[in-house]
Symmetry: C2
Subunit: 253 residues, 2 copies
């Protein structure tokens, strides 16, 4: 998108946006933990509804907070070597993936025990779509950018798609969380939700904080001035490739 | 974001993405119409639940389809005068605003008749936030870009925020629709939704089509190559301003 004057987009503001994203992200994880721990009876792994409670916590921690932070590393560690930042990006996404798998197993396992049908709701459709695309994106990212399995041409084709779908999947993940919040409230407190029960207000606030986290991460990632400057290690290939094919200077994620 | 080779982002592909967005957008409006018209008893303006049915149709038509098309005009009408495209952008957003207001009045009026509390759900919080920010954004856009009420500096500060929040609000609007779909299904067919009732599957498909519409519009708007080239009428001011302040070539929305 556009360049933006320093009051909103200058480099000094980056640290404030990143700090804000971390405050919101941690608040989301803590509120989800309190909601499931305090209002919904706590956690277990025994097929009971307390096993279900592991699901929201894992998804908010894995597919929102860690996923968002994995995206932000390219803006936060601007001067570290590109390879180190790539490895950190891949590790954070791997943690996100593992924690998401635990969260998904938790809910399928609970459904099996409680004889509740799977995959009928819009929440489950959006969630499964997000998870499958995220897993594919992680595999492709690993093969294309960390290991030398793809040509420079293929990398240059895939990089902008990786960046776009990376952000799109975070947004879809947050949207899926909001659907999950609504489902859970209508299943659990349908009688008191409309009377502004504390649990309902807390969960609604969680929804708005998730939206806020997504907006800040998206803003930081799409601002031109926050983009990582090309490092010497990556210039030799990308400069030559871009100059040969398009005659324009290289871009970095 | 990044430049992208021609197979996914070349100018010829723009028409296919725009065509795809229109197919998905119209499908969303038609499916919402069929859902409310066929499965939920049709439309009325008498305080009954049939008045509620006006709400989803207006919001999908106004705050998703027309809103998305208002964003796309800068990419579709690349060679028309900037002022004409701005006016079309403002008119489409005004239609979007008016239809949204009808949709919001429909649901508040129905709630008043049926003695249902307002503004307790996450859907209503997200929806009201989206609508208020959209209204503010429309007023600011009108004052800053259509009428000469703002200095060149103020315009250049606000333009990237207008573009970012324009897209962010479309995403939030689609997220709010998904929440509305989930709420409506759990209120109306909670007994058969988990048995894959046709109405539930149709509404879930509507949710995925809304997500698809949002992804295509966001992709078209964020691709560098699809960006409108600077027109002669806007160059004199913007080139000089950008050169003076940043030493970089001008950007266009």
């Amino acid at each position: 998108m556009e360049n933006i004057p320093s009051c909103w987009g200058g480099m000094r503001s980056l640290q404030w946006f990143v700090a804000g994203s971390q405050v919101l992200g941690i608040a989301c994880v803590v509120i989800t933990g309190v909601w499931m721990g305090h209002y919904r009876g706590g956690y277990a792994w025994d097929g009971s509804v307390n096993q279900f409670n592991v699901h929201p916590l894992c998804m908010v921690l894995g597919l929102v907070f860690l996923y968002g932070d994995a995206i932000l590393v390219y803006r936060v560690f601007r001067n570290e070597s590109k390879r180190s930042v790539k490895i950190l990006h891949a590790i954070l996404h791997m943690m996100s993936l593992i924690i998401s798998i635990v969260g998904i197993v938790a809910v399928f396992d609970f459904h099996a025990s409680a004889k509740i049908p799977d995959m009928y709701s819009l929440h489950s459709w959006c969630g499964m779509l997000t998870f499958v695309l995220f897993f594919l994106q992680w595999l492709l990212g690993l093969g294309f950018f960390l290991f030398p399995w793809a040509s420079a041409w293929l990398r240059s084709v895939y990089l902008p798609l990786h960046v776009f779908f990376g952000l799109a999947l975070m947004v879809l993940s947050i949207g899926t969380c909001l659907l999950g919040i609504t489902e859970k409230l209508l299943f659990s407190i349908s009688q008191t939700y409309s009377k502004f029960a504390a649990e309902g207000v807390l969960a609604n606030v969680l929804g708005l904080l998730l939206v806020g986290f997504g907006i800040i991460v998206a803003y930081v990632v799409t601002r031109e001035e926050f983009r990582r400057p090309p490092s010497p290690e990556e210039e030799p290939i990308s400069v030559h490739f871009k100059t040969l094919t398009e005659g324009t200077p290289p871009v970095t994620p």
